[in-house]
Symmetry: C2
Subunit: 220 residues, 2 copies
DNA sequence: CGACTGACCGACCGATCGGTCAGTGCTAGC
DNA sequence: GCTAGCACTGACCGATCGGTCGGTCAGTCG
């Protein structure tokens, strides 16, 4: 039976060399874009001949779309919801932000592919993105906030969708700007992911308004 | 004297046809990227011959870098600070968000060029970006929040840099995701820029926490 | 007028692009 | 030992790429 297990009979065989090609192509496409990457470069990076790449993938477009498809599918993992708005909301926000940024960084190649697809802005890719389970996970996060509202841990006037949007956009922006942000002295908090997550959670939780208790001030 | 004025011997002449080339190139580079745009396409879009493009710009790289340089310079305009944290903070936040999104949309080509540069992530472009006056304008916004803290209109515990970062990232993300975001039923607020700006300002101002005197707030 | 200039163009160049093809070598089943 | 199948390759192809070249033309200045 172990023989049967080792004997791959599925119509789709992963293939050892093909994996190297995919990995190399993902890295190159992510860093230089579709048009900026040649099949010869991919072959060289995967240490095979160019013809071998065409043996495994019918065309450059096919290879690219296969990778983008995988990225879209993996996009769901990017924001697996560990947000629990019923207990300690601020702590949950902090943990989510920290885990999310960590995931974005780990899936860097995949995320860059997605970012590039967003920029090219074809309706096909946004359809794929919309149907890739991202909106489902997004909804799960929104639902968590709604439950928090029902339980009184989240202000009732808050738009839950916008709040999740705000949280995700901050992480995405941090991930995309990378070193640029961390170099700014006004943004020293972003140097460490942990302090960033903690401060972000605090800001989202308490807001900018002063004096949570002692009344509101009058205009001068 | 008008002769002297019209006869300005500046080293840089604007040139009428060259403007068309620049505009066409900016649009194409923004939508398809550097490698995805050919000089022949640019020439056709500008309704000149390919040789004419090379007459005005030494090389494709030169043309592109000229555009990116302009974009970097124009990047400062993108967040000209009309944030006034000393008066009505929530209203100022709303106005800033609204104006910022409007500006991002109007400078779409320029902003997409910048986004592409961020993705390619060369240190040269992030150096340019850092020195393009963006950090100065960013600092102006941060200073506004600091003054707000001094005057008591902004909570003292808030990290002003992070708050500005959060505001900008939300707008940038909205701008970049575009239709994708507005299609999500959980994000109906983002359909109209005005409601988006208002809700964003409210969320940033009051935060998610339930206790901050929820009774005295009414929607417009 | 002639000398000169800058905007503009058609034709062309070598290099590189995505893609094809006729094989080579290795392994597994007979 | 034979052969079918598969991963893999070098050599090659037409198309397109960025870039060059020689030259036309309208306008300007002395």
């Amino acid at each position: 039976m172990n023989r049967a297990a080792s004997r791959i009979r599925a119509p789709r065989a992963p293939s050892p060399g093909a994996r190297r090609i995919e990995a190399a192509a993902r890295r190159l496409f992510a860093n230089r874009g579709y048009a900026g990457t040649s099949m010869a470069e991919i072959a060289a990076a995967a240490r095979v001949s160019k013809a071998t790449v065409f043996h495994h993938f019918r065309s450059k477009r096919t290879l690219y779309e296969s990778l983008v498809g995988d990225a879209m599918a993996g996009f769901r993992e990017q924001l697996v919801p560990l947000l629990d708005a019923e207990g300690d909301l601020q702590g949950s926000l902090r943990e989510f932000a920290s885990a999310h940024v960590e995931r974005l960084t780990r899936m860097q190649g995949t995320m860059r592919l997605i970012a590039r697809e967003m920029l090219s802005g074809t309706s096909a890719s946004s359809d794929l993105l919309a149907g890739s389970g991202m909106s489902q996970n997004f909804s799960l996060l929104v639902d968590a906030l709604r439950r928090g509202q029902a339980q009184g841990t989240v202000r009732a006037e808050v738009d839950p969708g916008l709040a999740v949007f705000l949280l995700l956009s901050a992480n995405w922006f941090l991930f995309q700007t990378g070193t640029l942000t961390r170099r700014n002295p006004d943004l020293a908090v972003t140097i460490s992911t942990e302090t960033y997550a903690a401060e972000l959670a605090r800001l989202l939780y308490f807001g900018l308004a002063p004096t949570a208790g002692p009344g509101h001030q009058e205009s001068p």
